[in-house]
Amino acid sequence: MNPALRIPAEFVAPSTEDMHLPPLFEVGSFAFGKQTLLILLSVVLIAGFFMFVIRRRAMVPSKGQFLGEMGYGFVRNHLGRDIIGEKDFRPFVPLLFTFFFFLLVNNLFGSIPVLQLPTFSHPGSAYILAAIAYVVWVAVGIRRHGLGQFMVKMTMPPNVPKILYVILIPLEFLSNLIIRPVTHALRVFATMFAGHMAIMVAAALTAFLATEVGGVLGVGGSVFGIVLGLFIYFLEVLIQVLQAYIFTLLFAVYVQGALQEGH
């Protein structure tokens, strides 16, 4: 039970604790909760959906297959081919596909009643995904250019007066190799966390006004709370889709930057 929805004498804003429901079961320190369950559910949903719609491999697609092809084709063509480039994009299609749909489905869990938890509002999930993306694009860059050349590419932008490299090399190193993965992770985590929190606040506000304050003012205020909550809800759906897209897009851009010839 959400403690914010209990009826306190004074309004208590919901906190991060409310995003961490008690685990379903525990083995030692391993707590299997709603969040981990949703992660596994998303894997089953995505794999199940795409394998189901493509099972016939029909030349003339059914509605389901068409939908699957649209989703797959979007990632393949717009995030893969258009950004990484015709020559190199093919090996990255599975990664892009997995990133995009894994994030999309997990984010949308936040807008599905009952599930109602964007998985990436828990920071660990965002960190690990950004870490995978980081390792992949750095490895790809080093494999393509060699470690030395890759570092030069990352830290020494071309067509700059030599004297500026004194400042630029540490700055570029910091921005490209340290801040970049951190922001990559925090961007999706923070938006999901904040969105979830905003909806919780709107819900708690509505409940508090309707049940605790009461009267004309309280009920009228709770209507406002509902409207606010709905507005935030639709904004959240938009942000959830957008963040999945942005995360994958950035990964594609990083890979493209790592593969790019010259500098």
Binding site: L40, A47, P94
Partner: protein
């Protein structure tokens, strides 16, 4: 506000990750990636490739059919042209053949007619000569008889008779020539 601060203090730092959540997310991601690499991507790529091939194959087939049709038409036109030339040649030959035959026949007819005319001329000449000879004889005899009758003397002597006849004939010729000239 107070309550919010209190709540925030009471809760853990939201940036501290749960290691188990990281692990589960990582495992889930890897499983999904594996399924994508193994099944989903190949299946979709195969469908895309098949469709592209089907379209390209159709286009290639259409192009081939078009080329074939064009070749057939060219060949047909060529045959038509050669047939037309052949016909013209045959017509030309027939005409010249006909002309040759006609000229041949004309020549032969001309020759035949010339021959016939010549023969006729010869026959007429001969007839005339014969007529002249026989006339001369007859006229001589008649004249002799007449003269002997008129003169009353025998003109049996051949030499004399001939002389008389010749003289008579010469007179006759001269007279004829005069009348001819007068005419």
């Amino acid at each position: 506000m107070n309550a919010m601060v209190l709540a925030a203090e009471g809760s853990q730092n939201p940036l501290i990750p749960d290691v188990w959540e990281m692990l589960i997310t990582g495992i889930g991601f890897v499983i999904l990636l594996f399924i994508a690499i193994k099944f989903i991507v190949p299946a979709f790529e195969k469908v895309f490739a098949d469709r592209a091939n089907a379209i390209e194959g159709g286009l290639a087939k259409a192009r081939a059919a078009q080329a074939e049709a064009k070749a057939a038409r060219d060949e047909y036109n060529q045959q038509l042209e050669s047939a037309r030339l052949e016909a013209q040649k045959i017509r030309e030959e027939a005409r010249s053949e006909g002309e040759k035959i006609l000229a041949d026949f004309k020549d032969r007819a001309n020759m035949e007619s010339a021959r016939i005319t010549e023969n006729a001329h010869k026959a007429i000449e001969a007839e005339r000569a014969a007529a002249v000879v026989s006339l001369r004889d007859e006229v001589g005899t008649l004249a002799t008889q007449l003269a002997s009758k008129i003169v009353g003397e025998s003109l049996d002597d051949d030499a004399r008779a001939n002389r008389v006849v010749d003289r008579f004939l010469a007179d006759l010729d001269a007279e004829q020539g005069r009348t001819g000239a007068a005419r």
